[in-house]
Symmetry: C2
Subunit: 437 residues, 2 copies
């Protein structure tokens, strides 16, 4: 491998990601949307036949049409490896924010909001694809991609508006966390079903039990085992310090990275997705993440490698597929379904869970759960990476549909949510005029 | 590329590096030495024929003997890419600690200490190889590897002993910084000479001028241009804030990473080593590194990828070559020369620069400049990577010699330095008994 090409490739890709991110942040939108769109622009508009990328940077994308197992040039493989590790660290930080304690106390409204918010989009998404093209694998992955909620974007708006202490905000945040866990279980089941190719009730039950058990084991570890390990070492270090000896020092970041990678490998090994392992690894550290500054430190690593993931997401979208009227129609239908299904599912779910919520509160919760952000895309890209009987589990067209759906739900929901919050909490509405939403 | 293999490979390598590092840190020695030795152990003792590594982790090392251009398996290439980026970020943080202001004020003793400390080891190392095996490329790279001083280890001892305000400490730190810059220039010249294959006075002069000019341009930028750019944006943001507008926000870490990668690519492109560009890029940010928390943030990235570099350094050492009595003799001679040449060069240099220094002070300075640490190894590994007319610019045997020389000078010097400091500053010696040195 040529070091010069690698350095040039990383420099050019990171600069492009930065430009995309800066433009979107300027308008108060999440930078990652800008990075994805920049990826689409690079792959479809600027570069065209990719000769510049190939000659100067050594980047040759894999060609899924000629060979579904094609991995691209060696420089691209390094970029791809960075991108994959970037998502793994991203899900790790999502896990870091998921405390088992909070989950247990989240209340019935949040729980039912999350469950209905998973079931309704999944059923509608699955029915749509089975009713049109009829490919079971495609239907499963599209449905799974429609389930995901991106906590980050909604949470940022609520934080910016200083409305963290409202009832709606608390339900949204708790439901989004439960939604993440349910989403991981759905992904595990879908991946298991697609890879095994079997669709008997018995095999579905087995995969479901396996996925749920894995998640429950980790939650149990978080609740009963991890605190004891921590207390043991804490007590031992106090004892050593009392005797005048040097306490044991552990590089906490290195420990967290190793556990994250090992759990990701374990999840991948037993047939779940690597990101599920990373997410659960994050949960193991959630109680000490703040004290150990883990999020901040992992964020530094992500600043370096995560933009490569979002850029790569965009680079795999083939705008050519949108020339087809059927695909454009599908994009429109999927976006409408994605918005409506979360609005109705989460709104009704929270109402059932807590009868005292009024109509406007349920609406706010429904809108707050709409953005799909990165999680839907991550699921779609896992589908793109699975090859069953020489065919990808996600078609290139459907992948483009999911990316656009995620991008558009993420752009549409925030301003509506901010407006609804503002209307409801006019008096308590304390944001300064120059704060962007 | 298989994601499971990649995750397993990274997990296993990072765990092994951590174990090596923890053992050495326990004895107060630099963790990187433990990582290098662990690499040697993995490659030569534990694994033997590498079948475990190949089958489970997908790691296949390149085989330089059958094909000097062999790059290894795709997983190894990813590990290699991480390792290379790890060194680049390492040199970037060394640059972050190198302020042009301090260089200008470092005084004559430090300047002459550094110059003599570069010239004496280079001449002795060059003469040794030319007098024995007589291969010019090998002689140049061994000599360049003997020049490097590792600031970090000496600085840590001085800091641990709280002797930063002594005269010797100030001279050592300043000289080590100048030594880094001189070392980069020497590396640039050696690399240029080896790659061009020409050894006329004219070509050496041209390469020297080019290398020195590149360094001087960056120093000039640091001194006159960068502060103005910073002041301009600072003033503009103040003005925006005064008008009640949102000040421009820049992700400083992303900016630093992009500049680091771009300067490394530029250095590599004009024929210097990438690490020279990274080092100079660090100097550009040195004045704001503390305020922007750059070192801390880059350190988080290094925690992830740098152990892979040191492990890889060790994995390329072939202990088999030490079965040869000539090579063992060479190791012994090189280690003795490495220790003596810095002791004499730096001792005499500082004495000439400042006549008022007594013998014990000059001795302390000489010992303080002895450890080669990582820098010597980095230079040797660059030599290993250059292929001229089908031959590597550094033989496998000599590479093993340099690694052992670096490891042993780094282990030997610290206890001697601590003892000499303690003897001289018995009264001011304020370290607590439990502090390790």
């Amino acid at each position: 491998m040529d070091l010069l090409q690698l350095l040039l490739a990383l420099t050019v890709l990171l600069v492009m990601a930065r430009i995309g991110s800066a433009i979107f942040s300027r308008f108060g939108l999440p930078g990652l949307i800008g990075e994805i769109l920049m990826g689409i622009v690079i792959a479809n508009i600027i570069v065209g036949d990719w000769s510049f990328m190939e000659d100067a940077l050594g980047i040759v994308l894999p060609d899924p049409i000629t060979d579904p197992n094609d991995a691209g040039s060696s420089i691209y493989q390094v970029v791809y490896a960075f991108a994959e590790l970037g998502v793994i660290f991203l899900l790790f930080t999502v896990g870091l924010e998921t405390k088992v304690k909070d989950l247990m106390n989240s209340g019935k409204a949040a729980l039912l909001c999350a469950i209905f918010g998973v079931v309704v989009p999944f059923v509608l998404g699955f029915a749509l694809i089975m009713g049109t093209e009829g490919n079971m694998n495609h239907a499963l992955f599209l449905a799974a991609a429609m389930v995901a909620t991106s906590v980050g974007i909604t949470a940022r708006i609520i934080k910016d508006m200083r409305l963290m202490d409202t009832r709606e905000a608390r339900i949204i945040i708790a439901a989004a966390v439960i939604d993440d866990i349910l989403g991981m279980i759905v992904l595990a089941i879908v991946k298991g079903m697609v890879e095994s190719g079997e669709l008997s009730i018995a095999s579905i039950a087995q995969i479901t039990i396996q996925a749920v058990a894995f998640v429950l084991v980790i939650i149990a570890l978080c609740k009963w085992v991890v605190p004891r390990i921590y207390d043991y070492f804490d007590a031992r270090n106090r004892a050593l310090a009392a005797e005048g000896k040097t306490p044991m020092k552990v590089n906490k970041l290195a420990l967290a990275i190793i556990v994250c990678l090992a759990m990701s490998a374990l999840a991948e090994y037993i047939g779940l997705a690597a990101i599920i392992g990373a997410f659960l690894a994050g949960m193991l550290f959630a109680d000490h993440a703040w004290e150990w500054e883990l999020e901040e430190k992992i964020d530094s690593i992500s600043t370096f490698i995560l933009p490569l993931f979002f850029l790569n997401v965009g680079m795999q979208v083939n705008l050519g597929s949108l020339a087809d009227a059927t695909v454009i129609g599908l994009v429109a239908v999927v976006i409408v379904l994605a918005l409506i299904s979360k609005y109705i599912g989460c709104g009704i779910g929270s109402k059932i869970g807590d009868k005292s919520l009024d109509r406007s509160s349920c609406s706010i919760i429904g809108v707050g759960m709409m953005p799909r952000g990165e999680v839907g895309i991550i699921i779609a890209s896992i589908g793109l990476g699975i090859v069953v009987e020489g065919q990808r589990a996600m078609s290139e067209d459907l992948y483009a549909v999911v990316v656009l759906m995620s991008v558009i739900t993420t752009i549409i929901a925030p301003p509506i949510l901010a407006k609804m919050f503002r209307k409801k909490y006019q008096e308590e509405y304390r944001i300064l005029p120059e704060d962007r939403i």
